[in-house]
Amino acid sequence: MKYRHRLFYYKNPYDTQSDNAFLNAAKENFIYQYTHCKEYGRIADGLGITADTLQTIDDIPRLPCLPTLLFKRHRLKSAPTLIRATSSGTSGNFSEIGFDIGGLLCALRMSCKIAQKRRLISLIPCHYIVMGYKPHRGNRTAVTKTALCATFLAPAINRRYILKYKNGAYSPDFEGIISALKKLDNSVFPVRFMGFPAYTFFLMKMMDEQNIHIRLKKGSKIMLGGGWKQFYAEQADKASFYRLAEKVFGIEDKDIVEFFGAVEHPILYCDCPNHHFHVPVYSRVVIRDGTTLNPVPEGTVGLVNLITPMVSATPILSVMTDDLGVLHSGSQCGCGIPTPYLEIIGRVAPTEIKTCAAGAAEALKEASK
């Protein structure tokens, strides 16, 4: 995996000259998957794709593109894995992705580069408020692992979690977090929030309604990741989120950082100061037409296909998420990062398509357990 190594050791994570390195690493990964994962091999054969198909960077969209749904239904693997992480689906409906040691080292290297670029690495100790799950033996979700990882970007004085595991289930403890935050008013150490935007937003709304406004130490940050989960209806527009953060905590817009990622595409997307997700060298994004799956030009809405050669243990080289998005030209942003940026605008069909009687059947499987 020498080409993967080269790609992940790029100095500038937003270098625009990485096409060749990316193509070589993708080709290397394709050959590995083709020879090590029989299901992947069959798919490639069925689609008539071989390593020779990949001649230039423009051939990247021709890689077999595996929907996340396929990973939810089949456990595909190409090598023994070091750790496994799952998406946060319920009732057995989740992807399980295995990582190899080489892939994890790449991930570490990538995270450092990206975090450095956004000035998230600091030696000043801080208090962490994790607006997500407290790690627990039974919880293997990637979102829990990444939230924990984020608490190592600066030394931790302590970590408080909003979702605590009690009596076999997680429940949010807003009151506990609010009383902890009150004690941190005017603390000499900064506070870092990490976790679900929805919980963070609710917390701020609750505090605002109760007229609790505190001033956190300069350098405090709000880091958001893991998506808006089941709270789409309450989805705050970003501007009101930033206003509230300033009002309730005194945290400015520039100190609010959002991450985007998926267990099936474990590349750390971190927003720029203008809050756009620029595509790093480790990843390529193809937006595909919702009916024909053909690639569409920049500026057009379609299905988001994410490509990375980071992992060899699972064939996640090219995956199709169930997100809808648009790719914009980097020059439209104005932050100075030249690579295109990805805007996620929603999910495919918000409710599950209902099949004959499947609603009752599915639900009752639960009951019969």
């Binding site: 689609l47 069909a349 398509i353 009687a357 499947a358 599915e362 639900a363 009752l364």
Partner: protein, 426 residues
């Protein structure tokens, strides 16, 4: 949300309400009766309101491609004529006019019916409830997870039109994982009506108290049979209607066409058929494509996933595949009736007429609708043959999922399952 005594309550009050229900139900059973006429009147008024457009805003929230079609269907199903016809055809003759003088056989409601509704058709839970009401039963309805609120609104309106119904309707949106609540509802019931597959039915059996009557409406399969496929061009108009049916239902209903059978031994006939049929299906699919890009993309993703699964599996004896925009025809060399990948992905197989019985009998518990494309002079013979195999509905290809006033359901008159006979010595 819970609908109880005609009012909406928050789900948090579930335990309190469940605890109160038994004495309340007992009081209703001992003191009140629900005349069918009152129910018909209320439902017919609701049907008229729907037809007149009073509930258009509600219908507009449906994910259906064409809410107008739902409106027409609802108006027809809920009409006084249909309801009266239903009562008459389904319950007539259940008591013998020639009872011996010493005993009188009286038809009574079962008592309490617990409906565990499916979510594959908007408004279906409400219709299941209506059948329970027509037979005078008290109804506990557990909404499917996929219910989008329309059932609750329709039912609330029905109670507003006829307040007497409030003692006969309880609606819960309890998730099925809440076994304790499900068990409690089952305990209160004389009959449990379940829509769903084997897993659902099995789970309900484990919940049901001894002696409770299980009213199962299981998974069924529909198919189309083309009796004279030698010349597919001649069939174009019927094939267009079949394509419309497939695109419109997206093959999600029990009556939807999953497999198209051709009366032939030759694989070449299947391929020839696909060449004729694919453009028709493509056109129908374009006409019925889902409104939003999100829904379209979802269907595309499903189809793409199914396609890759087939490449992985290689278990299927795929003889060919015709991919069109928004649809797919999968040619197989076997003759089994099976569920297609749905979403406009249809299986095409050969089934020579002398093998019909042996093939269909292998799926006897699952047979529902056969759409028959056939010369008029042969139609009766094929219809008879399918009926003998266990098929319960035989229609033209375009009408496979159409609703006919007075029709039975999966081989039975639904209302008969919601009543019992009481013998009374005179």
């Amino acid at each position: 949300m819970i609908l109880y005594r005609g009012k909406i309550f928050d789900s948090a009050e579930q335990d309190r309400i469940l605890a109160e229900m038994e004495p309340y139900i007992n009081r209703t059973l001992s003191e009140k009766t629900l005349p069918a006429e009152k129910v018909i009147d209320a439902i017919a008024r609701l049907g008229k309101e729907i037809a007149a457009g009073t509930h258009d805003t509600l219908l507009a929230t449906l994910q259906a491609d064409d809410p107008r079609r739902y409106k027409l269907l609802a108006a027809a199903m809920l009409s006084r004529e249909n309801l009266e016809l239903k009562l008459k055809t389904e319950l007539y003759g259940t008591t013998s006019p020639d009872s011996p003088p010493a005993i009188q056989v009286k038809m009574m409601s079962l008592g309490v019916i617990f409906h565990i509704a499916a979510g594959n058709m908007d408004g279906l839970p409400a219709f299941s409830l209506a059948e329970g009401l027509l037979t005078g039963n008290i109804n506990i309805l557990k909404l499917p997870q996929a219910d989008n609120g329309i059932s609750l609104e329709i039912i609330s309106r029905l109670i507003a039109l006829e307040p007497a119904l409030k003692d006969y309707i309880f609606v819960f949106d309890t998730p099925s994982s809440d076994v304790r609540a499900m068990q409690r509802m089952a305990e209160l019931a004389d009959g449990i009506c379940v829509w769903g597959g084997e897993a659902a039915v099995k789970a309900v059996r484990s919940l049901a108290p001894t002696g409770a009557k299980l009213i199962e409406w299981g998974h069924k399969l529909g198919f189309c049979y083309i009796a004279d496929p030698g010349n597919p061009e001649c069939l174009t108009s019927e094939l267009s209607l079949l394509a419309e049916h497939i695109a419109e239902t997206k093959q999600l209903l029990c009556s939807s066409c999953q497999t198209i059978f051709l009366n032939t031994e030759e694989e070449a006939d299947l391929l020839k058929f696909c060449e004729t049929f694919l453009p028709l299906l493509e056109a129908a699919s374009a006409k019925h494509h889902s409104g939003t890009i999100g829904e379209r993309a979802y269907l595309t993703l499903m189809r793409h996933t199914e396609y890759l699964e087939e490449l992985i599996g290689q278990s299927h004896n795929a003889a060919g595949e015709y991919r069109g925009t928004g649809c797919r025809l999968i040619v197989r060399s076997d003759s089994e009736l099976e569920l297609s990948p749905m979403m406009c992905s249809v299986l095409v197989k050969r089934l020579p007429e002398d093998q019909i019985v042996s093939v269909l009998r292998r799926k006897k518990g699952l047979l529902q609708t056969a759409g028959l494309i056939c010369a008029p002079e042969k139609r009766d013979a094929f219809t008879e043959l399918f009926a003998r195999c266990g098929v319960t509905r035989i229609t033209t290809a375009g009408n496979m999922s159409a609703y006919f006033n007075g029709e039975a359901h999966d081989g039975e008159y639904a209302l008969r399952r919601y009543v019992r006979m009481v013998d009374i010595e005179v």
